[in-house]
Amino acid sequence: MNIIRRVENGVLILELSGKLYTPTASLLQKEIQTSLKETKNIVLDFRNVEFLASSGLMALLNAQKAVSQAEGKMVIKNVNYSVMNVLTITGFASFLTIEKE
């Protein structure tokens, strides 16, 4: 999985691509922890995420916890149908801030 960082209007955007699953979940977690040292608000661009497994969900959960602790805000956008399905089944969809197109 690749993560590209970019700042747009003072907001940090992390562009994820590839599979978010067991081998890559920790990457996302680390990235968010580093990012929180600079900013509280993070946007996760899921446009190129093709696969989301439970370990990915856990990474998102931990990220959300960390952001919340820092009183920041985490937004996920551009989620495709399959990933959305996972988020829905697991009930994550209701608790994460998912921005629809």
Binding site: Y21, T22, F51, L52, S55, F95
Partner: protein, 743 residues
């Protein structure tokens, strides 16, 4: 042939040369001798003439002598008549005798003691008085030493007589001396001093031709014996003339002798003189002939070579080509009519032969085609081989060298056991029809024994025994066979002296399968050992015969194992069909321009069965997912994503928790089945880790806010949610979890 002809030609010329030379020698010798004889004869005629002339003068001389004698007698008679006293005066008589060069004087008178010889005086002379002489001689003065030439004269009455005598011999010697001097002036036979004349008379050599020869020399040389009737001491000449070759004082001489009256003429030539001309002529002739013959010989040899030998050689070369099987060779020798007709005959013969050959070739070809058809019809050649299942991908190809092949491959599902695939590749030591028959036997045995359920080792043991028993021509087979359980991937194989196949595992490189090179089939008793390996998803086997590695290029360099390895490893992931076609065209390209040296056969098998055996490690998770993804490749479905998530969740779960005690971890066996109508996929995960039934666990409360959730419970929940069914059993100390999803 050319050399032989030249030898004979040379021999012929040598003989001709020798014969001509010998003939010239003889002819020239005869000519020289005849010329010599002719010269001598001419001289002899001359001598004869001289002798005759001489004899005439001798005759007239003797007449004169007789007159002189008569005169002397008359004178003495007149003296005695006038002075009878003197008749008894011896002194007077002796003086008279010597003065008149007389041999003898005798006086007869009536009272003399000497009887008056009874001389018959011719009556007309009796009346003669003193001073008148009567010449009386007893005979011609020849050959009688004692004879004398005598004259009588009366010197008074009473029969008083005197006789005065010349000795005959003395007279003759005188004559002879004259003649020798006379004749010897002309004893040389020609102006160059060659040849001499010798003259003998009455057995006495009167002229030696200035050669300082004696009668003894002539005797020693043997010529005398030829000249005389009996021996040299008789004076009777042989009446014949003749020639004689002899040696005198070490020099070769040639004689011609001819008797004449009491003479013997002897012409004599030293041979070196006699033959000088002959030798000159001979030398010239021989030199000339030698050059002539050499020129003619060389000319003839060249002409013969042009006309005959080169033609024969051309024909011979063509015949050699024809004998070596080139029936398209044409003989074209147009040197002369004979060769043209010979060429035509040979050509028409070869044409006939070629026609017959073509006919028989066609027949054989037809039969070979038939044999080829039978062989190929037995060899499965329709691909994909097993279209109704996707557990294996198999391709095979055989290229025969001589219509029928000594190679073969075979593969088939065992009768009554659709999960077991038998495959084999084999190479008979020979080629052509006999090898094909051997192949058929082997193939039939192999198929029957396999279908009877024997293990590969047992199959080979039995085939070996059977082939060995019937093998009268010492053929043998190298073979590899395997039986693959396409459900489990278990491969049992046995090798009888065949090249070890290549195997490519886990998407790595092709490497030779480790297998003992056991003994070939059909030669000796042998107990074959079988081996067993586990084939995994995407493992590929490549089997081949030595026709591949031993294909030769124009320089007779082998294609070689290295080249083959390089080629199959260029892209190990190619489909088996692509791999085989790639090798085939590479080998054919390699052989371009040479006769195909061997038949070749290849068989490649890729195990695609929906089963993956993996170490239970997190880094293998992609392999597990790729495997399942490939299973779903042909079944596009909206649920692919769900299935892959399930696989990810279950595999990571096992990797994380199933083998907590073992540092190196355990294995996971993933097997897939796709089928049914509507199509569903079923995936079974088997591990021998700690027993764990995911279904026992309560589902997490998904209504809880995220902050209150525990991590790690979500995965299996997702699986249950997304799959149509999830089942778990624990059997044989293994966790068996099966998920199922309609596609």
């Amino acid at each position: 042939m050319k050399k032989k002809l030249q030898k004979w030609l040379l021999l012929f010329f040598l003989i001709s040369f020798c014969a001509t030379s010998a003939l010239t020698y003889v002819a020239q010798t005869k000519l020289a001798e005849r010329t010599a004889v002719l010269t001598i004869k001419t001289r002899i005629n001359y001598l004869r003439y001289q002798i005759e002339a001489h004899e005439k003068s001798v005759l007239s001389l003797s007449k004169k002598i007789k007159e002189i004698l008569k005169e002397k007698a008359a004178n003495l008679a007149l003296n005695l008549k006038s002075n009878p006293e003197l008749a008894k005066d011896e002194t007077f008589l002796n003086t008279w005798k010597s003065n008149n060069d007389l041999e003898e004087i005798q006086i007869f008178f009536p009272d003399s003691p000497k009887p008056i010889p009874d001389i018959k005086i011719p009556s007309d002379q009796k009346k003669k008085s003193a001073g008148e002489t009567v010449f009386l001689t007893e005979a011609p003065c020849e050959n009688k030493d004692s004879q004398k030439l005598s004259a009588y004269a009366p010197w008074g009455s009473d029969n008083r007589l005197i006789r005065v005598s010349f000795s005959c011999n003395k007279y003759q010697d005188f004559m002879e001396d004259l003649s020798i001097e006379h004749l010897s002036a002309n004893l040389k036979l020609d102006n160059y001093g060659r040849g001499s004349m010798m003259i003998a008379r009455n057995g006495k050599l009167i002229s030696d031709g200035n050669l300082a020869l004696t009668k003894q020399d002539l005797h020693d040389s043997g010529v005398l014996r030829k000249m005389y009737k009996d021996d040299e001491f008789h004076r009777i000449w042989n009446k014949k003339s003749g020639t004689y070759h002899a040696q005198i004082h070490g020099k070769k001489v040639f004689f011609y002798f001819e008797p004449y009256k009491n003479y013997m003429f002897l012409g004599i030539y030293f041979e070196k003189d006699l033959y000088r001309n002959r030798n000159k002529v001979l030398l010239f002739n021989i030199t000339f002939l030698l050059i002539l013959f050499l020129v003619v010989y060389v000319l003839m040899a060249v002409v013969l070579d042009r006309m005959v030998i080169s033609g024969i050689k051309k024909i011979n070369d063509s015949l050699k080509k024809i004998t070596n099987g080139d029936l398209n060779e044409k003989v074209r020798v147009t040197t002369n009519d004979e060769f043209i007709s010979l060429s035509d005959s040979i050509n028409s013969m070869v044409d006939g032969l070629q026609q017959a050959h073509q006919e028989s070739l066609q027949r054989i070809n037809h039969e070979l085609q038939l044999a080829y058809k039978i062989q190929t019809s037995q060899q499965p050649a329709v691909f994909p081989a097993f279209p109704d299942q996707n557990k294996i991908d198999l391709f095979a190809l055989s290229r025969p060298a001589k219509e029928v092949s000594g190679d073969f491959y075979d593969f088939f599902m065992l009768d009554g056991d659709p999960s077991r695939l038998a495959f084999t590749i084999a190479d008979v030591s020979e080629k052509g029809i006999p090898a094909a028959l051997f192949v058929m036997t082997t193939r039939a045995l192999l198929k029957n024994l396999t279908n009877m359920g024997y293990s590969p080792a047992e199959i080979f043991n039995r085939i070996n025994r059977q082939l060995k028993e019937d093998n009268k021509i010492n053929m043998f087979v190298t073979a590899f066979m395997g039986i693959l359980n396409i459900d489990t991937g278990k491969l049992v194989y046995v090798n009888a002296g065949h090249m070890p196949p290549y195997i490519c595992r886990h998407n790595g490189k092709f490497q030779q399968l480790e297998v003992d090179p056991e003994f070939v089939l059909g030669a000796i008793d042998h107990d074959y050992q079988q081996h067993e390996i586990q084939l995994n998803y995407n493992d590929t086997l490549f089997l081949y015969t030595d026709g591949i590695t031993e294909a030769e290029d124009r320089n007779q360099t082998l294609f070689s194992q290295e080249r083959l390895e390089k080629l199959i490893n260029e892209n190990p992931a190619d489909s088996v069909q692509d791999t085989i076609f790639k090798i085939k065209s590479a080998v054919e390209e390699y052989e371009k321009g040479c006769e195909q040296s061997d038949d070749f056969t290849m068989l490649a098998l890729r195990y695609l069965k929906n089963r993956l055996y993996l170490p239970a490690r997190m880094d293998k998770i992609d392999e597990a997912m790729t495997f399942v993804e490939s299973m779903l490749q042909n079944h596009s479905s909206a649920h692919t994503y769900d299935v892959l998530i399930a696989v990810e969740e279950i595999f990571s779960n096992i990797a994380k928790y199933a083998y907590p005690d073992r540092t190196e971890g355990g294995f996971v066996d993933i097997s897939c089945a796709i089928g049914g109508d509507p199509v569903f996929i079923s995936i079974t995960f088997t591990d021998s880790g700690i027993p764990f039934n995911p279904l026992d666990r309560p589902d997490p409360d998904i209504t809880l806010p995220l902050m209150q959730r525990e991590p790690g419970k979500m995965g299996l929940f997702m699986v249950k949610k997304m799959m149509d069914s999830v089942t778990y059993t624990y059997q044989n100390a293994q966790n068996v979890l099966t998920i199922r999803k309609q596609l």
